[in-house]
Symmetry: C2
């Protein structure tokens, strides 16, 4: 398994398969086919088979895929067969929404620390957490050995906060600030910017 380098574009589709399979499992289904899964996620059956076969032979001719088994394998491949500690920087509205988001726990993630740099926010309670002073980001994240962070600070602050996170050992950043981050290629960034996403659709209206 995993002898050759797997293209990013395939890795990017696996979480979508995972989500659909989790849903099928929740609905009590036991097996599925590339055809059926493809209809759920809007991807061709051939592509799904090709993607999955990069990692092993997880299906059976004639009957398709065991949902539970494929779920296990995908979780293992994506390394979400465990719970990752996540830091959240920026305790504004978006930070609050993420802190209260119920969808992380059963998909491999748990927020364990929240930071902000404003005096009003520091010390505030959000759920079970107390907002910490952003001045302590580096030591605090290093000590807790956190590898993943979510960034919900203003665009102007994003690059410098990202650099502190990286210095502290973070290797994956989910960036909500509407700006591109400059990071070494040992660090992964995913971007979420609602305005950008909307602008990808207006062209077609």
């Amino acid at each position: 398994m995993n002898a050759e380098k797997i293209p990013d574009i395939i890795i990017g589709r696996l979480p979508v398969y995972l989500r659909a399979l989790q849903r099928m499992a929740d609905n009590g289904l036991k097996t599925t086919s590339s055809q059926e899964l493809g209809e759920h996620v809007g991807i061709s059956a051939a592509q799904i088979r090709k993607d999955i076969s990069q990692f092993g032979e997880f299906g059976k001719q004639g009957t398709g895929y065991s949902i539970a088994y494929l779920l296990d394998k995908l979780r293992e491949i994506l390394k979400v067969d465990r719970i990752w500690d996540v830091a959240l920087v920026g305790a504004g509205d978006m930070g609050h929404a993420l802190a209260n988001y119920p969808g992380f726990q059963n998909r491999g993630f748990c927020i364990v620390a929240i930071f902000d740099n404003s005096d009003e926010k520091i010390g505030q309670k959000i759920g079970a957490f107390v907002v910490q002073d952003a001045d302590n980001i580096v030591e605090s994240i290093k000590a807790a050995n956190i590898k993943i962070a979510m960034l919900t600070v203003p665009a102007i602050a994003a690059q410098s906060v990202a650099e502190k996170l990286i210095q502290a050992g973070v290797r994956a950043i989910l960036n909500y600030a509407p700006i591109n981050l400059n990071v070494p290629n040992t660090v992964k960034v995913q971007y979420i910017d609602p305005a950008t996403h909307l602008q990808r659709m207006t062209y077609y209206l």
Copy 2:
């Protein structure tokens, strides 16, 4: 301009160029080159020139692109040289964060209506808006001629709400619910699911 069909993947990059150029303009810059813009967005200069040249000849040999002119052209192409009315369905934490999000106005969007189906939420004020009963989605959106919606409802409700939105004339949906939507191909959907985005990075850790 626009004689041939432009690939989705190119349209998807234009908002990223737009955002970077807006930033440069805010910083007082007047011109840029494909090289410089590429460094800001992490895309090769050749690809940027190729993308932009799909729509016309907006640059000048020797000097590059006028930032103000390219901004105008990109806004026109993406149809964000105007303000689009947007409906928001789901007044939970994520809905609140979007309702208060300051980044829409100057990028072409304005939330004009918020819906929820829970008795506690209906009638509540969020910013300048009063949460409306989700039962009125179809007539209300039709009457206001709204074409874009953001969906922050639980996964279980997302498909049926999407169908009502489409029935009301919505043609672009930004879906925060962690589920794939089944829509006719006259309707565009963009997905934002923080857990999925995080799962795209854990593979590399």
